[in-house]
């Protein structure tokens, strides 16, 4: 009886396996095949028209003035469009990773606008994930866009990106605990071991480290990038650097877990620590801007375009800038702030002068990207 039962279960096993193999082959034959590679074919242009319906926007946190009198509410009141404003972007790579399978298929997960960094916008565009924008649909934008943002290197004719805000990456310092930190090199000081965090963006942290060593990231070779990455790797291993973060450094500053962090200039609204202040490193910062882009499959491009025009009105843009304290791309904001008597009008963070940012560099993509990125990822994942 036992032997019989065993043989029967053995036969069952074989039968099941045979069926499984056949099924697998069938599955493989009837689907998929190509994975990745981006969308090929012509890029579509976003359609204009009257704005109605619902608009879903994905953005970084702390990047808009919230609440009942905020920009979103104002837009809804004026146009009747219902806006779903989602703050779900915490890092360019992370967001891209989440969305990529859908973008690959021409879907945008219901969003009509994302806000991503220059290099990410370019990456998405090259993969065919973005729609192109007709300037004729954006009169307010191109009337008020600051001149030096009109022809950037990654999108010379502004075919697929419209700047949202700009900013600088420097050092946030808890002045009550570490008042003497003024340079990225100070972050490697052993007396701050374990009390320092840095950003996990390849184009920011290693670039700043290189700047602090007197190397210009725009001209650096792959080996110089790798050298900076190695220095960071050693600091991470020794415990000098507590963590590599996206937005989370604001949490650590609030909780008092760290005394300094490489971070973004306008994040004051996210940090609940009255002693924290943003400092321009003595050797310079990285300057960047984030862009609104319209993805393929965006459900309501007309409303998206209306939104873009709306936020480029100086009276709207000034409200945003007052709250987020980042660098506005809209001409006329400074004047309005002066009229309001706001001290932000004179702030170096919101209106950095040429002099202030003389040593700053843009967000540079390193040469031999794959090799450098791999080394960086090794450091990030310990």
């Amino acid at each position: 009886m036992r032997a019989q039962a065993k043989r029967r279960s053995g036969i069952t096993l074989v039968a099941v396996l045979a069926v499984a193999v056949v099924a697998m082959l069938g599955l493989a034959a009837c689907g998929g095949g190509t994975v990745g590679g981006g969308n090929s074919g012509e890029a579509t242009t976003a359609k204009g028209g009257p704005a109605t319906g619902k608009l879903t926007i994905s953005n970084w946190p702390g990047y808009i003035d919230p609440g009942k009198n905020g920009t979103v509410a104002e837009f809804e009141k004026e146009t009747g469009v219902k806006v779903d404003y989602i703050e779900d972007i915490n890092s360019n790579d992370g967001f891209f990773g989440k969305l990529q399978p859908q973008l690959e298929q021409g879907e945008s997960g219901g969003r009509s606008i994302f806000v991503v960094a220059d290099y990410m916008a370019k990456q998405m565009h090259d993969l065919g994930y973005l729609q192109e924008i007709n300037h004729a649909d954006l009169p307010t934008v191109f009337k008020n866009l600051l001149p030096d943002l009109q022809h950037p290197g990654f999108d010379p004719e502004r075919k697929f990106s419209v700047p949202w805000q700009g900013g600088m990456t420097g050092i946030w310092v808890d002045t009550s605990k570490a008042p003497d930190i003024h340079s990225v090199n100070d972050l490697f000081d052993p007396k701050y071991k374990g009390k320092v965090t840095m950003l996990d963006e390849l184009r920011e942290t290693p670039a700043l480290v290189m700047l602090a060593e007197g190397v210009d990231p725009a001209k650096a070779s792959a080996d110089q990038w790798l050298h900076a990455i190695e220095k960071l790797g050693n600091a991470a291993e020794s415990g000098q650097i507590r963590r590599f973060t996206g937005n989370e450094y604001t949490e650590d500053l609030t909780a008092g877990n760290i005394v300094a962090a490489i971070g973004w200039s306008g994040d004051a609204s996210l940090i609940e620590n009255p002693n924290a202040e943003w400092r321009m490193p003595t050797e310079g910062c990285t300057r960047w801007s984030e862009n609104m882009v319209i993805p393929v499959g965006a459900p309501n491009t007309a409303a998206a375009l209306a939104w873009m025009n709306f936020v480029y009105r100086p009276d709207v843009a000034v409200d945003i800038t007052e709250y987020v304290e980042y660098i506005s791309p809209v001409n006329g904001v400074k004047g309005l702030l002066q009229e309001r008597g706001s001290e932000l009008a004179e702030s170096d963070i919101v209106f950095p002068t040429e002099e202030f940012t003389r040593n700053c560099t843009g967000q540079i993509t390193p040469p031999e990207l794959e090799r450098v990125n791999e080394a960086w990822q090794e450091v990030l994942t310990g």
């Binding site: 989602i86 915490n90 969305l99 399978p101 859908q102 879907e107 996210l270 609940e272």
Partner: protein, 288 residues
């Protein structure tokens, strides 16, 4: 001297219960922290450590004032209810088959049920993602539902099974003796007595679904569930409302468990007219 040795003896006798008390306290620490800090006032509405800004019920009153949080919670609840319904039905059927019937391939079935329970969520999430990528399927609510049902089935089977095993068949036999058809017996005798076990399994499935972070992170695309929302905000300041809602959820599930336990007691009393096998505790108990 005598009192010291007496004290020592008392300690030794009660060491185990004292230890149990400490261990339970340890288990409940985070829950207490979460609940307590839902009452802490903060300048910007983000969670900070310490009640030094004062005590307030403001966030309880404005618990539903954040639309993105509400939507995430609602999505999670919808997902959990659907996943629970589907997986409980499927799992119960499987449990009945496993306990009450003969069939080929028992070992294979057992294996198939056990392995998902032991597999790390990363692997489950990643493999599902691989399949969805291969077929370029859109990630979202449906893919989440599929995943949640999948990992719940095994747990439902185990819970219902353990209840079925301890089941006393005499009542069913009595019903049959009185002329009831198998289906009628099932409906009027088996199912009601099985109900607490099924409820417990459903509760477990519900908790697993609401709780799930890793698998959802891989397969949600842009749909935001409650845990995913919490993860997002944890990177930049958790709004206190999250604590409030988490505490509410905890209380809700606690009440549900009390109900299940009460049901169980009722079922036990209903079948209390049979002799207990010597040395064994009451059968109809067992872990929820």
């Amino acid at each position: 001297m005598a009192s010291l040795s007496r004290a020592w003896a008392w300690l030794r006798r009660n060491a185990l219960p004292i230890y149990a008390g400490l261990a339970v306290a340890y288990l409940l620490i985070p829950i207490v922290v979460i609940a307590v800090f839902s009452f802490g006032a903060t300048p910007k509405g983000k969670l900070t450590f310490g009640l030094d800004h004062g005590f307030t019920t403001e966030y309880w009153r404005s618990a539903f004032s954040r639309p993105d949080l509400n939507e995430a919670l609602f999505t999670s609840l919808r997902l959990a209810v659907l996943a629970t319904a589907i997986s409980t039905v499927i799992g119960t059927l499987m449990a009945i088959a496993l306990v009450r019937h003969k069939f080929h391939g028992r070992q294979l079935t057992n294996l198939l049920i056990v392995i998902p329970m032991a597999t790390p969520e990363v692997v489950i999430g990643a493999s599902l993602l691989s399949m969805f990528i291969y077929y370029t399927l859109a990630l979202g609510f449906t893919t989440l539902l599929i995943a949640h049902v999948m990992f719940s089935i095994s747990f439902v089977v185990v819970v219902v099974r353990s209840r079925l095993i301890g089941f006393d068949r005499h009542l069913e036999e009595a019903a049959a003796d009185l002329g009831a058809t198998p289906l009628a017996t099932f409906r009027t005798v088996t199912l009601p007595l099985l109900a607490p076990g099924i409820l417990a399994a459903a509760l477990l499935a519900f908790s697993l679904s609401i709780d799930d972070f890793v698998i959802s992170n891989f397969n949600s695309g842009t749909t935001v569930t409650f845990p995913l929302y919490v993860y997002g905000v944890s990177l930049r300041g958790v709004p206190v409302q999250v604590n409030v809602l988490a505490t509410m959820l905890f209380l809700l599930l606690t009440i549900a468990v009390m109900l299940v336990l009460w049901q169980q007691r009722r079922a036990e009393r209903m079948t209390a007219v049979r002799p207990q096998p010597a040395g064994r505790p009451a059968l109809a108990g067992g872990s929820a």
